[in-house]
């Protein structure tokens, strides 16, 4: 019963059945700092993780003294 979450070159295994938001909080990833996608489609973070889901997170924080 696992789904996988990818962020840049990292991969995390999480239990399916919980929301993306709870999975992110458990992994110490700030929900505000990422956008979850599945097969290139944007998802809201109340989406429930399904068995064998592959979720890609798009990091949105940019910075520097621009």
């Amino acid at each position: 019963m696992t789904a996988r979450i990818h962020l840049r070159d990292k991969e995390f295994k999480v239990r399916s059945g919980m929301t993306i938001r709870s999975a992110l909080l458990r992994l110490n990833i700030q929900p505000e700092a990422v956008l979850p996608t599945r097969d290139g489609e944007l998802l809201t973070d109340d989406e429930i993780l399904q068995e064998r889901d592959e979720i890609r997170l798009i990091a949105v924080i940019s910075g520097g003294a621009h």
């Binding site: 700030q30 929900p31 956008l35 924080i61 520097g64 003294a65």
Partner: protein, 320 residues
Amino acid sequence: MKCRKCGEKAVIHMRQHKLALCKNHYLDWIPKQTQRFIHDNKMFNPEDRILVAVSGGKDSLVLWDVLSRLGYQVDGLYIGLGIDGGNGYSAESRRFTEIFAAEHKLNLITYDIEEHEGLDIPTAASMTRRGRERPCSICGLSKRHIMNRVAIENDYDVLVTGHNLDDEAAVLFGNTLNWLTAYLQRQGPVLPNRSGLVKKAKPFFRFYERETAAYALLRGIEYMYDECPHAVGAKSIYYKVLLNQLEADRRGAKLSFYLSFLRAKETMNFNLGGDDVERMLHPCTSCGQPTSTPDLCTYCRTWKEVRDRREMMLEQGIES
């Protein structure tokens, strides 16, 4: 979660507005909101000629897209910094910018620093006292100077940048932690023009960073995803992480931090002493841009220091 407007499946939930939208309604909502911010803050009119500073990153390309969808006359300015950093940062971000401009038939001005000053940013930074670890100081001041110069020389009415709420809140946080009153005085979504300085506006100042990223994704705008290598460990990123922590516990915390600052500035007698600096502005003896430092402006002084040092090194036969 369902779209508030049509009941279809939502693609984004903006917790601070308690608003979830589907793809189509989101792609409508962003330009409408932008137009409202432009109007409410008197940023510019349809007759104005607008120059948008584009870096190839999400915010500036999305801003260019939204303003042109709204029918404004908006040209882009890309500044070539010559940063490689292992991921070909400048070359790649330039490529994204050029592709975007070509696909949307928009006019792009490119200004390459090395072409004009003889050295790229990392090389120049290695020759200044302050910039040896991080080129952000000379990079930031050069970009600000060049944006203003290009806008003035080409008669643009306003210069716009893609700064979002997270950028502004992070700057405000840093300025407040250190009580940098002169900076606080000048921080805001619009800076009026003064002699030698073009009007500046930040139409995205109320959008969260994830909202501009979501727009880019949904519109299929390809942007430079990797950061400038010198942004690693930047204070602004650290402040953004702290503010996002607040936001996770209390929705809307970032937005209200920034908006209540703007309100306080307007309603209270918020005399932060910045006016004194304004009064002391005079034209730089070399380039003519207004400056508060005696004689040369910071841009001219810094680049003069770089060239002098370069010359000295060449005379001594040291390769940089």
